[in-house]
Symmetry: C2
Subunit: 182 residues, 2 copies
DNA sequence: ACAGTTTTGTAGCGATCGCTACAACAGGAA
DNA sequence: TTCCTGTTGTAGCGATCGCTACAAAACTGT
Protein backbone atom coordinates (compact mmCIF):
# COMPACT_ATOMS: atom_id res chain seq x y z
CA UNK A 1 0.00 0.00 0.00
CA UNK A 2 2.90 2.34 0.74
CA UNK A 3 4.26 2.02 -2.77
CA UNK A 4 0.84 2.50 -4.30
CA UNK A 5 0.22 5.74 -2.43
CA UNK A 6 3.67 7.01 -3.28
CA UNK A 7 3.16 6.24 -6.95
CA UNK A 8 -0.27 7.84 -6.90
CA UNK A 9 1.26 11.17 -5.97
CA UNK A 10 4.39 10.79 -8.12
CA UNK A 11 2.49 9.68 -11.19
CA UNK A 12 -0.12 12.35 -10.53
CA UNK A 13 2.57 15.02 -10.71
CA UNK A 14 3.88 13.62 -13.97
CA UNK A 15 0.38 13.52 -15.38
CA UNK A 16 -0.05 17.15 -14.44
CA UNK A 17 3.10 18.10 -16.33
CA UNK A 18 2.03 16.06 -19.31
CA UNK A 19 -1.39 17.68 -19.46
CA UNK A 20 0.11 21.15 -19.18
CA UNK A 21 2.55 20.37 -21.97
CA UNK A 22 0.26 18.62 -24.42
CA UNK A 23 -3.27 19.46 -23.36
CA UNK A 24 -6.02 16.92 -23.81
CA UNK A 25 -4.93 15.83 -27.26
CA UNK A 26 -2.69 13.08 -25.94
CA UNK A 27 -4.69 11.94 -22.99
CA UNK A 28 -5.62 8.37 -23.78
CA UNK A 29 -4.96 5.83 -21.09
CA UNK A 30 -1.90 4.42 -22.81
CA UNK A 31 -0.56 7.86 -23.69
CA UNK A 32 -0.98 9.08 -20.12
CA UNK A 33 0.75 5.99 -18.80
CA UNK A 34 3.68 6.33 -21.19
CA UNK A 35 4.06 10.01 -20.32
CA UNK A 36 4.12 9.12 -16.63
CA UNK A 37 6.68 6.38 -17.19
CA UNK A 38 4.48 3.48 -16.17
CA UNK A 39 2.47 0.85 -18.00
CA UNK A 40 -1.20 1.38 -18.68
CA UNK A 41 -1.86 -1.62 -16.49
CA UNK A 42 -0.15 0.06 -13.55
CA UNK A 43 -1.85 3.40 -14.13
CA UNK A 44 -5.12 1.57 -13.55
CA UNK A 45 -3.63 0.03 -10.45
CA UNK A 46 -2.70 3.38 -8.96
CA UNK A 47 -5.98 4.99 -10.00
CA UNK A 48 -9.50 3.59 -10.13
CA UNK A 49 -9.93 4.44 -13.78
CA UNK A 50 -9.00 7.05 -16.34
CA UNK A 51 -11.39 9.60 -14.83
CA UNK A 52 -9.73 9.18 -11.44
CA UNK A 53 -6.30 9.79 -12.93
CA UNK A 54 -7.45 12.87 -14.81
CA UNK A 55 -9.30 14.29 -11.84
CA UNK A 56 -6.24 13.84 -9.66
CA UNK A 57 -4.09 15.68 -12.18
CA UNK A 58 -6.66 18.44 -12.59
CA UNK A 59 -6.79 18.83 -8.84
CA UNK A 60 -3.04 19.44 -8.75
CA UNK A 61 -3.35 21.85 -11.64
CA UNK A 62 -6.09 23.83 -9.95
CA UNK A 63 -4.00 23.99 -6.80
CA UNK A 64 -1.04 25.32 -8.78
CA UNK A 65 -3.18 27.94 -10.40
CA UNK A 66 -4.70 29.05 -7.13
CA UNK A 67 -1.21 29.40 -5.73
CA UNK A 68 -0.14 31.54 -8.67
CA UNK A 69 -3.20 33.72 -8.27
CA UNK A 70 -2.57 34.12 -4.56
CA UNK A 71 1.03 35.08 -5.24
CA UNK A 72 -0.19 37.84 -7.55
CA UNK A 73 -2.94 39.06 -5.23
CA UNK A 74 -2.66 37.58 -1.73
CA UNK A 75 -5.73 36.80 0.29
CA UNK A 76 -7.02 39.81 2.21
CA UNK A 77 -5.78 42.41 -0.23
CA UNK A 78 -8.30 44.12 -2.48
CA UNK A 79 -7.80 45.97 -5.73
CA UNK A 80 -9.80 48.33 -7.86
CA UNK A 81 -11.52 46.73 -10.82
CA UNK A 82 -9.02 48.28 -13.20
CA UNK A 83 -6.03 47.02 -11.27
CA UNK A 84 -7.48 43.55 -10.86
CA UNK A 85 -8.22 43.31 -14.58
CA UNK A 86 -4.67 44.42 -15.27
CA UNK A 87 -3.27 41.76 -12.98
CA UNK A 88 -5.33 38.80 -14.17
CA UNK A 89 -5.11 39.56 -17.89
CA UNK A 90 -1.34 39.78 -17.54
CA UNK A 91 -1.41 36.42 -15.81
CA UNK A 92 -3.58 34.91 -18.54
CA UNK A 93 -1.03 35.69 -21.22
CA UNK A 94 2.15 35.22 -19.17
CA UNK A 95 4.35 32.38 -20.46
CA UNK A 96 4.40 30.59 -17.12
CA UNK A 97 0.68 30.50 -16.55
CA UNK A 98 -0.53 30.38 -20.14
CA UNK A 99 -0.49 26.55 -20.28
CA UNK A 100 -2.85 26.52 -17.33
CA UNK A 101 -5.38 28.70 -19.09
CA UNK A 102 -5.07 26.72 -22.30
CA UNK A 103 -5.85 23.55 -20.43
CA UNK A 104 -8.64 25.37 -18.65
CA UNK A 105 -10.32 26.24 -21.93
CA UNK A 106 -9.90 22.67 -23.14
CA UNK A 107 -11.53 21.41 -19.99
CA UNK A 108 -14.48 23.78 -20.44
CA UNK A 109 -15.01 22.58 -23.98
CA UNK A 110 -14.70 19.06 -22.58
CA UNK A 111 -17.85 19.73 -20.60
CA UNK A 112 -19.75 19.81 -23.87
CA UNK A 113 -18.14 16.68 -25.28
CA UNK A 114 -17.93 14.50 -22.17
CA UNK A 115 -19.96 16.06 -19.34
CA UNK A 116 -19.62 12.99 -17.13
CA UNK A 117 -15.86 13.46 -17.20
CA UNK A 118 -15.46 17.23 -16.98
CA UNK A 119 -18.62 18.95 -15.75
CA UNK A 120 -18.14 18.45 -12.04
CA UNK A 121 -14.52 19.48 -11.76
CA UNK A 122 -14.86 22.38 -14.20
CA UNK A 123 -17.80 23.90 -12.35
CA UNK A 124 -15.94 23.45 -9.10
CA UNK A 125 -12.87 25.26 -10.35
CA UNK A 126 -14.97 27.98 -11.98
CA UNK A 127 -16.83 28.78 -8.78
CA UNK A 128 -13.45 28.86 -7.04
CA UNK A 129 -12.27 31.45 -9.52
CA UNK A 130 -15.39 33.54 -9.03
CA UNK A 131 -15.12 33.64 -5.26
CA UNK A 132 -11.39 34.36 -5.56
CA UNK A 133 -12.10 37.38 -7.75
CA UNK A 134 -15.02 38.60 -5.63
CA UNK A 135 -12.90 38.50 -2.50
CA UNK A 136 -10.29 40.72 -4.11
CA UNK A 137 -12.56 43.44 -5.45
CA UNK A 138 -12.65 46.57 -3.38
CA UNK A 139 -15.78 48.66 -2.82
CA UNK A 140 -19.28 48.11 -4.12
CA UNK A 141 -21.97 45.81 -2.84
CA UNK A 142 -21.74 42.02 -2.72
CA UNK A 143 -24.09 41.96 -5.71
CA UNK A 144 -21.99 44.36 -7.72
CA UNK A 145 -18.84 42.40 -6.86
CA UNK A 146 -20.55 39.24 -8.06
CA UNK A 147 -21.36 40.82 -11.41
CA UNK A 148 -17.88 42.30 -11.67
CA UNK A 149 -16.32 38.94 -10.95
CA UNK A 150 -18.43 37.22 -13.61
CA UNK A 151 -17.36 39.79 -16.15
CA UNK A 152 -13.70 39.50 -15.24
CA UNK A 153 -13.78 35.71 -15.49
CA UNK A 154 -15.46 36.04 -18.89
CA UNK A 155 -12.69 38.43 -19.93
CA UNK A 156 -9.97 36.00 -18.88
CA UNK A 157 -11.61 33.09 -20.65
CA UNK A 158 -12.27 35.24 -23.68
CA UNK A 159 -8.63 36.23 -23.90
CA UNK A 160 -7.54 32.61 -23.74
CA UNK A 161 -9.98 31.69 -26.51
CA UNK A 162 -9.02 34.69 -28.61
CA UNK A 163 -5.39 33.68 -28.52
CA UNK A 164 -6.30 30.27 -29.88
CA UNK A 165 -8.61 31.40 -32.66
CA UNK A 166 -6.45 34.33 -33.77
CA UNK A 167 -2.93 34.83 -32.44
CA UNK A 168 -1.00 36.11 -29.47
CA UNK A 169 -0.67 39.64 -30.86
CA UNK A 170 -4.43 40.02 -31.19
CA UNK A 171 -4.96 38.63 -27.72
CA UNK A 172 -2.48 41.14 -26.31
CA UNK A 173 -4.26 43.90 -28.18
CA UNK A 174 -7.54 42.88 -26.59
CA UNK A 175 -5.89 42.63 -23.17
CA UNK A 176 -4.45 46.12 -23.40
CA UNK A 177 -7.80 47.43 -24.55
CA UNK A 178 -9.52 45.80 -21.59
CA UNK A 179 -7.15 47.43 -19.15
CA UNK A 180 -8.11 50.92 -20.20
CA UNK A 181 -11.83 50.29 -19.73
CA UNK A 182 -14.82 50.65 -22.01
CA UNK B 1 -23.01 13.03 -60.73
CA UNK B 2 -26.25 14.95 -60.41
CA UNK B 3 -27.39 12.86 -57.48
CA UNK B 4 -24.03 13.10 -55.81
CA UNK B 5 -24.02 16.89 -55.93
CA UNK B 6 -27.60 17.05 -54.71
CA UNK B 7 -26.80 14.76 -51.81
CA UNK B 8 -23.69 16.73 -50.97
CA UNK B 9 -25.79 19.81 -50.31
CA UNK B 10 -28.73 17.97 -48.71
CA UNK B 11 -26.53 15.89 -46.44
CA UNK B 12 -24.43 18.96 -45.69
CA UNK B 13 -27.50 20.75 -44.37
CA UNK B 14 -28.44 17.80 -42.20
CA UNK B 15 -24.90 17.63 -40.85
CA UNK B 16 -25.12 21.31 -39.97
CA UNK B 17 -28.30 20.73 -37.99
CA UNK B 18 -26.78 17.73 -36.27
CA UNK B 19 -23.68 19.64 -35.23
CA UNK B 20 -25.73 22.55 -33.93
CA UNK B 21 -27.90 20.16 -31.92
CA UNK B 22 -25.24 17.87 -30.50
CA UNK B 23 -21.94 19.70 -30.90
CA UNK B 24 -18.81 17.73 -31.57
CA UNK B 25 -19.56 14.99 -29.08
CA UNK B 26 -21.38 12.84 -31.63
CA UNK B 27 -19.32 13.54 -34.68
CA UNK B 28 -17.76 10.22 -35.59
CA UNK B 29 -18.11 9.16 -39.19
CA UNK B 30 -20.83 6.63 -38.45
CA UNK B 31 -22.67 9.00 -36.12
CA UNK B 32 -22.62 11.78 -38.68
CA UNK B 33 -23.88 9.42 -41.36
CA UNK B 34 -26.72 8.12 -39.20
CA UNK B 35 -27.74 11.66 -38.27
CA UNK B 36 -27.81 12.60 -41.94
CA UNK B 37 -29.84 9.53 -42.81
CA UNK B 38 -27.24 7.84 -44.98
CA UNK B 39 -24.75 5.03 -44.51
CA UNK B 40 -21.19 5.78 -43.52
CA UNK B 41 -20.17 4.31 -46.83
CA UNK B 42 -22.25 6.87 -48.72
CA UNK B 43 -21.08 9.77 -46.58
CA UNK B 44 -17.59 9.00 -47.82
CA UNK B 45 -18.95 8.85 -51.34
CA UNK B 46 -20.47 12.31 -51.14
CA UNK B 47 -17.46 13.77 -49.33
CA UNK B 48 -13.77 13.06 -49.74
CA UNK B 49 -13.30 12.19 -46.09
CA UNK B 50 -14.54 13.12 -42.66
CA UNK B 51 -12.68 16.43 -42.71
CA UNK B 52 -14.39 17.37 -45.98
CA UNK B 53 -17.81 16.62 -44.51
CA UNK B 54 -17.11 18.62 -41.36
CA UNK B 55 -15.65 21.56 -43.25
CA UNK B 56 -18.70 21.68 -45.50
CA UNK B 57 -21.01 21.75 -42.50
CA UNK B 58 -18.91 24.38 -40.76
CA UNK B 59 -19.02 26.50 -43.88
CA UNK B 60 -22.81 26.45 -43.80
CA UNK B 61 -22.77 27.23 -40.11
CA UNK B 62 -20.47 30.20 -40.57
CA UNK B 63 -22.71 31.48 -43.38
CA UNK B 64 -25.75 31.21 -41.12
CA UNK B 65 -24.00 33.08 -38.37
CA UNK B 66 -22.81 35.83 -40.67
CA UNK B 67 -26.37 36.21 -41.90
CA UNK B 68 -27.67 36.51 -38.34
CA UNK B 69 -25.02 39.10 -37.53
CA UNK B 70 -25.85 41.09 -40.65
CA UNK B 71 -29.54 40.99 -39.76
CA UNK B 72 -28.71 42.50 -36.36
CA UNK B 73 -26.30 45.13 -37.72
CA UNK B 74 -26.48 45.43 -41.53
CA UNK B 75 -23.40 46.21 -43.53
CA UNK B 76 -22.73 49.94 -43.76
CA UNK B 77 -24.28 50.84 -40.43
CA UNK B 78 -21.98 51.70 -37.54
CA UNK B 79 -22.65 51.69 -33.83
CA UNK B 80 -20.98 53.09 -30.76
CA UNK B 81 -18.88 50.60 -28.83
CA UNK B 82 -21.51 50.40 -26.10
CA UNK B 83 -24.35 49.73 -28.52
CA UNK B 84 -22.34 47.15 -30.45
CA UNK B 85 -21.43 45.32 -27.26
CA UNK B 86 -25.07 45.35 -26.26
CA UNK B 87 -26.11 43.89 -29.59
CA UNK B 88 -23.54 41.11 -29.85
CA UNK B 89 -23.72 40.00 -26.23
CA UNK B 90 -27.50 39.72 -26.58
CA UNK B 91 -26.94 37.64 -29.69
CA UNK B 92 -24.43 35.40 -27.90
CA UNK B 93 -26.97 34.39 -25.27
CA UNK B 94 -30.11 34.43 -27.43
CA UNK B 95 -31.73 30.98 -27.72
CA UNK B 96 -31.64 30.99 -31.51
CA UNK B 97 -27.97 31.80 -31.89
CA UNK B 98 -26.61 30.23 -28.74
CA UNK B 99 -26.01 26.83 -30.40
CA UNK B 100 -23.80 28.57 -32.92
CA UNK B 101 -21.60 30.07 -30.24
CA UNK B 102 -21.46 26.80 -28.34
CA UNK B 103 -20.23 25.05 -31.45
CA UNK B 104 -17.87 27.93 -32.06
CA UNK B 105 -16.21 27.41 -28.68
CA UNK B 106 -15.99 23.68 -29.31
CA UNK B 107 -14.30 24.35 -32.61
CA UNK B 108 -11.76 26.67 -30.98
CA UNK B 109 -10.89 24.04 -28.41
CA UNK B 110 -10.68 21.60 -31.30
CA UNK B 111 -7.76 23.64 -32.61
CA UNK B 112 -5.76 22.49 -29.59
CA UNK B 113 -6.77 18.84 -29.89
CA UNK B 114 -6.74 18.39 -33.66
CA UNK B 115 -5.13 21.39 -35.35
CA UNK B 116 -5.05 19.72 -38.76
CA UNK B 117 -8.83 19.47 -38.64
CA UNK B 118 -9.84 22.78 -37.07
CA UNK B 119 -7.09 25.37 -37.23
CA UNK B 120 -7.63 26.60 -40.76
CA UNK B 121 -11.39 27.01 -40.66
CA UNK B 122 -11.42 28.44 -37.14
CA UNK B 123 -8.85 31.13 -37.93
CA UNK B 124 -10.75 31.94 -41.10
CA UNK B 125 -14.03 32.42 -39.26
CA UNK B 126 -12.32 34.36 -36.46
CA UNK B 127 -10.77 36.86 -38.83
CA UNK B 128 -14.17 37.19 -40.47
CA UNK B 129 -15.67 38.07 -37.10
CA UNK B 130 -12.96 40.63 -36.42
CA UNK B 131 -13.41 42.45 -39.71
CA UNK B 132 -17.18 42.32 -39.27
CA UNK B 133 -16.90 44.02 -35.90
CA UNK B 134 -14.30 46.55 -37.06
CA UNK B 135 -16.51 47.59 -39.97
CA UNK B 136 -19.40 48.31 -37.62
CA UNK B 137 -17.56 50.41 -35.06
CA UNK B 138 -18.07 54.13 -35.41
CA UNK B 139 -15.37 56.72 -34.82
CA UNK B 140 -11.78 56.18 -33.75
CA UNK B 141 -8.78 55.26 -35.85
CA UNK B 142 -8.38 51.99 -37.76
CA UNK B 143 -5.92 50.94 -35.04
CA UNK B 144 -8.32 51.73 -32.23
CA UNK B 145 -11.13 49.91 -34.02
CA UNK B 146 -8.87 46.89 -34.38
CA UNK B 147 -8.20 46.84 -30.65
CA UNK B 148 -11.86 47.42 -29.88
CA UNK B 149 -12.87 44.57 -32.16
CA UNK B 150 -10.39 42.20 -30.55
CA UNK B 151 -11.76 43.06 -27.12
CA UNK B 152 -15.36 42.61 -28.23
CA UNK B 153 -14.63 39.22 -29.77
CA UNK B 154 -12.90 38.19 -26.56
CA UNK B 155 -15.98 39.31 -24.63
CA UNK B 156 -18.31 37.25 -26.81
CA UNK B 157 -16.13 34.17 -26.56
CA UNK B 158 -15.71 34.72 -22.85
CA UNK B 159 -19.46 34.87 -22.33
CA UNK B 160 -19.94 31.62 -24.22
CA UNK B 161 -17.26 29.94 -22.11
CA UNK B 162 -18.61 31.40 -18.89
CA UNK B 163 -22.03 29.96 -19.59
CA UNK B 164 -20.50 26.51 -19.96
CA UNK B 165 -18.28 26.59 -16.89
CA UNK B 166 -20.86 28.24 -14.61
CA UNK B 167 -24.48 28.70 -15.69
CA UNK B 168 -26.70 30.89 -17.79
CA UNK B 169 -27.56 33.25 -14.94
CA UNK B 170 -23.90 34.04 -14.30
CA UNK B 171 -23.30 34.56 -18.00
CA UNK B 172 -26.23 36.98 -18.18
CA UNK B 173 -24.86 38.78 -15.16
CA UNK B 174 -21.51 39.20 -16.89
CA UNK B 175 -23.23 40.32 -20.09
CA UNK B 176 -25.23 42.99 -18.31
CA UNK B 177 -22.09 44.14 -16.54
CA UNK B 178 -20.24 44.39 -19.85
CA UNK B 179 -22.97 46.57 -21.32
CA UNK B 180 -22.53 49.27 -18.72
CA UNK B 181 -18.80 49.58 -19.29
CA UNK B 182 -15.86 49.29 -16.96
C1' DA C 1 -30.21 -4.47 -76.35
C1' DC C 2 -25.81 -3.11 -75.18
C1' DA C 3 -21.81 -0.86 -73.02
C1' DG C 4 -20.21 2.30 -69.80
C1' DT C 5 -20.67 5.18 -65.96
C1' DT C 6 -22.63 6.47 -61.56
C1' DT C 7 -24.50 5.01 -57.35
C1' DT C 8 -25.03 1.83 -53.48
C1' DG C 9 -24.56 -2.32 -50.11
C1' DT C 10 -21.73 -5.74 -47.72
C1' DA C 11 -18.04 -6.74 -45.37
C1' DG C 12 -14.00 -5.96 -43.29
C1' DC C 13 -9.27 -3.84 -42.72
C1' DG C 14 -5.76 -2.26 -39.14
C1' DA C 15 -5.55 0.83 -35.36
C1' DT C 16 -6.87 2.53 -30.97
C1' DC C 17 -10.02 2.95 -27.13
C1' DG C 18 -10.90 1.89 -21.79
C1' DC C 19 -10.47 -1.87 -19.14
C1' DT C 20 -9.74 -6.72 -17.14
C1' DA C 21 -8.53 -11.81 -16.26
C1' DC C 22 -4.89 -14.31 -14.70
C1' DA C 23 -0.78 -15.66 -13.06
C1' DA C 24 3.75 -14.62 -11.42
C1' DC C 25 6.33 -12.07 -8.37
C1' DA C 26 7.84 -9.59 -4.07
C1' DG C 27 8.05 -8.83 0.97
C1' DG C 28 6.82 -9.30 5.63
C1' DA C 29 4.35 -11.89 9.49
C1' DA C 30 3.53 -16.36 11.68
C1' DT D 1 9.24 -22.43 6.09
C1' DT D 2 4.60 -21.14 4.98
C1' DC D 3 1.26 -18.15 3.94
C1' DC D 4 -0.65 -13.89 2.71
C1' DT D 5 -1.10 -9.39 1.02
C1' DG D 6 0.48 -6.11 -2.10
C1' DT D 7 2.56 -5.34 -6.62
C1' DT D 8 3.55 -6.14 -11.54
C1' DG D 9 3.68 -8.23 -16.45
C1' DT D 10 1.39 -10.52 -20.32
C1' DA D 11 -2.16 -10.90 -23.05
C1' DG D 12 -6.37 -9.91 -24.71
C1' DC D 13 -11.40 -8.57 -24.41
C1' DG D 14 -15.26 -6.10 -27.01
C1' DA D 15 -16.11 -1.71 -28.90
C1' DT D 16 -15.26 2.03 -31.90
C1' DC D 17 -12.37 4.70 -35.02
C1' DG D 18 -11.57 6.39 -40.19
C1' DC D 19 -11.50 4.30 -44.29
C1' DT D 20 -11.52 0.88 -48.35
C1' DA D 21 -12.00 -3.35 -51.61
C1' DC D 22 -15.24 -5.40 -54.25
C1' DA D 23 -19.13 -6.22 -56.70
C1' DA D 24 -23.99 -5.69 -57.53
C1' DA D 25 -27.42 -2.53 -58.87
C1' DA D 26 -29.27 1.46 -61.22
C1' DC D 27 -29.01 4.68 -64.59
C1' DT D 28 -27.37 6.82 -69.12
C1' DG D 29 -26.42 7.30 -73.87
C1' DT D 30 -26.12 4.87 -78.30
Amino acid sequence: MARKDQQRTDVGLRLKEHLLNTGLSRASLRQLATAAGVSDRMLLYYFDDKADALNTAFGLIAADLTLALDMAVPEGTTLSMTDLIRTVTDLTLAPDTKPYFRLWTEAIAGVLREPEQFEQIVKLIASGFLTWIEARLEGGTPESRQADAAMILAMIDGLALLEICTDEATARLAAERMKQGV
